[in-house]
């Protein structure tokens, strides 16, 4: 029975890693700019499909780097041309425009890649399985856990231990004062948005070998990511990581222990979080 629970703990960690990659960018742009960017789901989907096309030409490792870079570029372009303007207009235009982008991206993906779901085969080095405490676990899923943990650590260090991170935190907590002391908050926004898009792209390409890439994934990934953001608290990395662990834990152990209720458990958790701590478990001061 230990093997069974080891498997499920690993499943939960792997699910949390994917959720973190999607939710981190969403959470930070939420906290920093007050921008509800629903197009984040579309960026995640593009990461998966671009990754599959690149991998078909050059192999998995190149795709793992190229897809997030390509999606960052798309994100930066979107921010400069459209979303940067919309971000100042308040929540309703933000939601309408960014959700409109989801529909456009979904149809574009259908035109370019078709309706049949596609898969990405990971590098041969990541194929196969290992034995851990009596459980047999796919190597690729361990790799996903490592990527999630590494990105979380790197982002946390970047935000809390570097000058750029200090400027970023200042822009979140008090944008007016940050501008007064010479931090170019506009540029900071663009940087954060681009980075968030890249993370979503990385999430997409990393998820593709596990969940087949399909045009429906833009919407299906968005909802859990929003729940992670709300539960964890907007605008900080630790919150996104904690939220991802909680949501993944509820989804995996809910499916194991209370299968009949598994579909509603995360919504119940969301409701509890909104009543008990509407600002999220961990929250950046400025976003309060």
């Amino acid at each position: 029975m230990t093997a069974f629970w080891t498997l499920q703990v690993l499943n939960a960690l792997q699910h949390a890693a994917l959720l973190f990659l999607i939710a981190a960018g969403l959470s930070v742009s939420f906290g920093l700019m007050g921008f509800v960017n629903l197009a984040h789901g579309a960026l995640y989907m593009l990461g998966a499909f671009i990754g599959i096309s690149v991998a078909a030409q050059t192999g998995f490792w190149v795709a793992l780097i190229a897809a997030p870079l390509a999606v960052s570029a798309i994100g930066a372009l979107l921010y400069l041309c459209l979303l940067g303007r919309v971000a100042r207009l308040g929540p309703m235009p933000q939601v309408l425009v960014s959700f409109g982008l989801v529909f456009i991206a979904t149809e574009l993906v259908r035109i370019v890649w078709g309706d049949i779901p596609l898969v990405l085969d990971p590098s041969a080095a990541l194929a196969g399985r290992v034995d851990l405490a009596g459980a047999t676990y796919p190597v690729y899923r361990l790799f996903v856990i490592c990527i999630g943990a590494a990105m979380a650590a790197a982002l946390w260090l970047g935000v809390n231990r570097t000058n750029l991170g200090a400027a970023l935190r200042a822009s979140v907590e008090n944008p007016g004062m940050a501008r007064a002391i010479g931090i170019r908050t506009e540029r900071m926004f663009l940087l954060v948005f681009t980075l968030g898009a890249g993370l979503a792209g990385l999430g997409g390409v990393v998820a593709a070998p596990i969940t087949a890439a399909n045009p429906g994934m833009a919407v299906s990934a968005l909802i859990p990511a929003l729940i992670v953001t709300v539960i964890g608290g907007m605008g900080n990395i630790a919150g996104a990581a904690l939220g991802a662990l909680i949501v993944a834990g509820i989804e995996v152990f809910g499916a194991v222990l209370f299968p009949a209720a598994s579909a509603v458990l995360i919504y119940a958790a969301l409701a509890v979080a909104l009543i008990w701590r509407p600002e999220g478990l961990l929250v950046a001061k400025g976003a309060r």
């Binding site: 029975m1 069974f4 498997l7 499920q8 499943n11 792997q14 699910h15 259908r110 078709g114 309706d115 049949i116 779901p117 596609l118 898969v119 085969d121 399985r129 047999t136 676990y137 796919p138 690729y140 899923r141 070998p209 596990i210 969940t211 087949a212 399909n214 429906g216 994934m217 299906s220 989804e251 995996v252 499916a255 194991v256 299968p259 598994s262 579909a263």
Partner: protein
């Protein structure tokens, strides 16, 4: 030469049949768009093969939305004065249009939706199905697995009408054959992308085999994940054949090797009728094998042409003539059961194997002329 020219002129001057208007109700957008396209391709292939130019086809994009389907069915019936409706992919849309079709007394040829009720307790003299029913594919599979000496099974399927109907039909047949269902889960439909937690439960259940129904993107990711956990040796995978259908097999690749399923059509069937059909399809779609959806569309067309050839004209005559049509087509002998208006057809139990040109299906067993019991169907 002269008599030939003359006969050609005559053929133009005196059309042999009056025009027939077909309302084609298929999703052209959304999750089922690929299926809709396949069905339409097959349907038009049958009309073209029959050389009929006097059939007017009006397309209606029903999506998978019952409300849209109902609105468009009314439009086709009342405004376009269609003689016959063809299509319907989603079981939910079929449920929604059933009463309108029945009351308007217009024949409907169902080319996909497997909802068992439509040829069971909600059957109608005007609804004829040429695809399959959920019961029809799962019952033989349950009997077959029990006969193979498999004693215990764990089941997984998405939590919606089709998933529940399929697993129920399988479980009834499997337990009647002496097998035991040791456990099972219905996974949240459209929300489950990671089957890891469920696969671990299936593994821990100690069952001898795993039986599932998944389609669409789920079919591809489920097979990939099953393979990545290395369950092939300890927990062999059986399914309703949609899991490794031709549409998904190319993406699944060798992960699908060894999966056993049951379907009403396989592109690899070794019959002259199927060979001719595959050749004709590949002329228009190089390097693609026809899916069971193309065949369902094709047979819907064949049924319509057959009814028209028998001299039927207009809604009532067509509705009466459609169930009379019988022939041997790509999937084998095909006829309509007069008791339910559901198709009677062979079900092929197959193993997904690696062939010389990629993955293919190898028939293990043929369950001939599978006919659904009436299930409460009483046609007036």
């Amino acid at each position: 030469m002269k008599p030939f020219v003359f006969s050609c002129l005559l053929a133009f001057a005196l059309p042999a049949h009056a025009d027939t208007t077909v309302g084609l109700m298929l999703p052209a957008s959304g999750n089922y768009a690929a299926l809709g396209q396949d069905i339409e391709d097959g349907f038009r292939m049958a009309l073209q093969e029959a050389g009929r130019s006097n059939i007017r086809v009006i397309e209606a994009d029903t999506e998978a939305d019952p409300q849209t389907g109902l609105t468009l069915a009314r439009k086709l019936i009342m405004q376009d004065r269609a003689d016959v409706l063809v299509g319907v992919v989603s079981s939910a849309v079929l449920g929604a249009v059933r009463d309108v079709v029945h009351q308007a007394e217009i024949p409907l040829i169902v080319a996909n939706a497997g909802n068992s009720d439509a040829t069971g307790k909600d059957c109608s003299a005007f609804i004829t199905r040429v695809s399959f029913s959920n019961d029809q594919l799962n019952r033989p599979m349950g009997e077959w697995m029990a006969a193979q000496g498999i004693s215990s099974v764990y089941t997984l399927a998405p939590d919606y009408a089709a998933g529940q109907q399929m697993i129920a039909a399988f479980s009834d047949a499997f337990t009647a054959g002496g097998g035991e269902i040791v456990g099972g889960e219905f996974t949240p439909f459209g929300k489950t992308e990671d089957f890891g937690p469920y696969l671990a439960k299936a593994q821990a259940s100690g069952a001898q085999a795993l039986y599932v129904f998944y389609g669409g993107a789920d079919a591809v990711s489920f097979v990939k994940q099953y393979d990545s956990f290395g369950l092939r040796d300890t927990l062999p995978l059986y399914s309703v054949g949609f899991l490794t259908a031709p549409l998904y097999l190319r993406e699944q690749g060798t992960s699908a090797a060894g999966v056993i399923g049951a379907l009403h059509y396989l592109p690899s069937l070794d019959t002259p009728e199927n060979e001719a059909f595959v050749d004709a399809y590949q002329k228009a779609h190089p390097d693609t094998l026809p899916s069971e959806y193309v065949v369902a569309g094709y047979d819907a067309g064949r049924l319509l042409v057959g009814a028209l050839d028998s001299g039927a004209e207009g809604r009532a005559a067509l509705a009466a003539a459609l169930p009379q049509v019988a022939y041997t087509g790509p999937r084998g002998p095909l006829k309509i059961d007069p008791v339910t208006n559901n198709i009677v057809q062979n079900v092929y139990v197959f193993e997904t194997v690696e062939g010389p040109d990629g993955m293919t299906h190898q028939v293990l067993d043929t369950v001939e002329a599978v006919r659904d019991p009436p299930n409460g169907c009483a046609m007036e």
